[in-house]
């Protein structure tokens, strides 16, 4: 599982990815000049209603804000101190709205669809002789190897704990890096043995997400 996508159909899932991205872009521009606290508060309420309309699993995702809380508090306090609590609240509310809306798009759009909405932007790369197919292949490779390397680090950490593991956990970065390099050599050899990337006809971003 390496995607934030929620396999829990809703009306928002059915909208095209490009439309959702465009909407977010527009809103992020439109929200900048808003200086009315009530209006910004309403936007946050509207955002929360959107989450609720998508369903309970989406509401649970609001927890993503937790790690950001200390930073938000810091920003709020410093901003209150320099320019007053009204613009401090405006700022924090605007950030909350945009983060939550952007996250909602991520929750309701499959990686494949996001990829195909964005791929047209890579077309200019053809001028530099870069095949957009290679980008798709690199994305697939990355998604495929994250769980592998995560398993490697998990094993390293278990071994480290078994040996008493107290200080210097960072030293695990050494075997992790070495194993990644070895793995990349093996994959490159295997790829060459199969004729290289150019012979792969249709690389797909496979994330095992049900439609």
């Amino acid at each position: 599982m390496i995607s934030l996508y929620m396999a829990h159909p809703s009306w928002l899932h059915k909208l095209p990815a490009g439309l959702k991205l465009l909407g977010l872009l527009l809103l992020s521009v439109l929200l900048y000049p808003v200086a009315n606290l009530g209006l910004m508060g309403l936007m946050l309420l509207f955002t929360l209603i959107l989450y609720a309309s998508v369903g309970k699993p989406a509401l649970r995702q609001l927890l993503i804000l937790k790690p950001l809380a200390p930073l938000f508090l810091l920003i709020f306090l410093m901003q209150t101190w320099t320019v007053g609590w009204v613009s401090a609240s405006l700022l924090v509310l605007r950030m909350l709205v945009l983060i939550l809306l952007a996250n909602l798009i991520t929750l309701t759009t499959r990686m494949d669809d996001m990829m195909s909405a964005i791929t047209p932007m890579f077309a200019p790369l053809k001028l530099f002789n870069i095949d957009p197919k290679r980008i798709a292949f690199a994305v697939t490779l990355l998604i495929r190897f994250v769980p592998v390397l995560m398993a490697v680090i998990q094993h390293l950490m278990e071994a480290w704990r078994a040996r008493g593991g107290k200080r210097q956990v960072w030293k695990l970065a050494i075997p992790l890096t070495i194993q990644s390099i070895r793995l990349s050599d093996h994959v490159a050899e295997a790829l060459a043995a199969r004729g290289g990337i150019s012979t792969i006809t249709n690389p797909r971003v496979s994330t095992h997400e049900p439609r």
Partner: protein
């Protein structure tokens, strides 16, 4: 080196950065937990060189934007690019490029000091340039204020630069060919 092999290296380093996000954060003296992820950014530049390092970080950030929760703490998706730390994420490729460039420039020095300086230049100077700019744009603060908020992270990142140098040194011992900025 074949283009395919470069592409595999780029993808694998991006995956490595994701795995490094899993190393538990170490609470540092300033109270700000330091994560291993920017360590990976420093290493990518030094190990892969400027261009491949930057491409691998660009790939990583692209896949994060697509919705993979690969940033430390399991963050990911488009929300990252709307938050106060967006500038750091966008700065990853540039930081790796700067670190790689510096590492090539300093390749006559012994590996530890060369990597340390490259990591500080890319992973701190350049990365914070982006991080502070992003924070300023999103929060609308003044330059000095924005820099002051972000300064609390710098001691932790200095520690990471030292770690990056130790890792590069250890890797150079085990697999000397893996450090592409020190070839030829």
């Amino acid at each position: 080196m074949s283009q395919d092999k470069s592409l595999v290296q780029i993808a694998l380093y991006a995956a490595l950065i994701a795995a490094m996000g899993l190393i538990p954060p170490i609470p540092f003296v300033t109270g700000i937990p330091i994560t291993a992820q920017t360590l990976g950014v420093m290493l990518a530049g030094v190990m892969l060189g400027p261009w491949r390092g930057a491409l691998s970080m660009a790939l990583f950030i692209f896949v994060v934007a697509l919705g993979a929760p690969l940033l430390s703490g399991g963050r990911g998706g488009l929300g990252v690019f709307m938050g106060p730390t967006a500038g750091f994420a966008i700065g990853f490729p540039f930081a790796a490029f700067a670190a790689g460039y510096m590492a090539i420039w300093l390749r006559r020095l012994p590996i530890f000091p060369a990597t340390l300086l490259a990591a500080i230049f890319g992973g701190i100077v350049v990365l914070y340039l982006f991080g502070i700019t992003g924070f300023k744009i999103i929060s609308g603060r003044e330059w000095l204020d924005a820099a002051a908020v972000m300064a609390v992270f710098i001691p932790g990142d200095l520690v990471k630069a030292v770690i990056a140098a130790s890792v590069a040194q250890a890797v150079a011992k085990g697999l000397p060919d893996a450090i592409l900025t020190r070839k030829g």
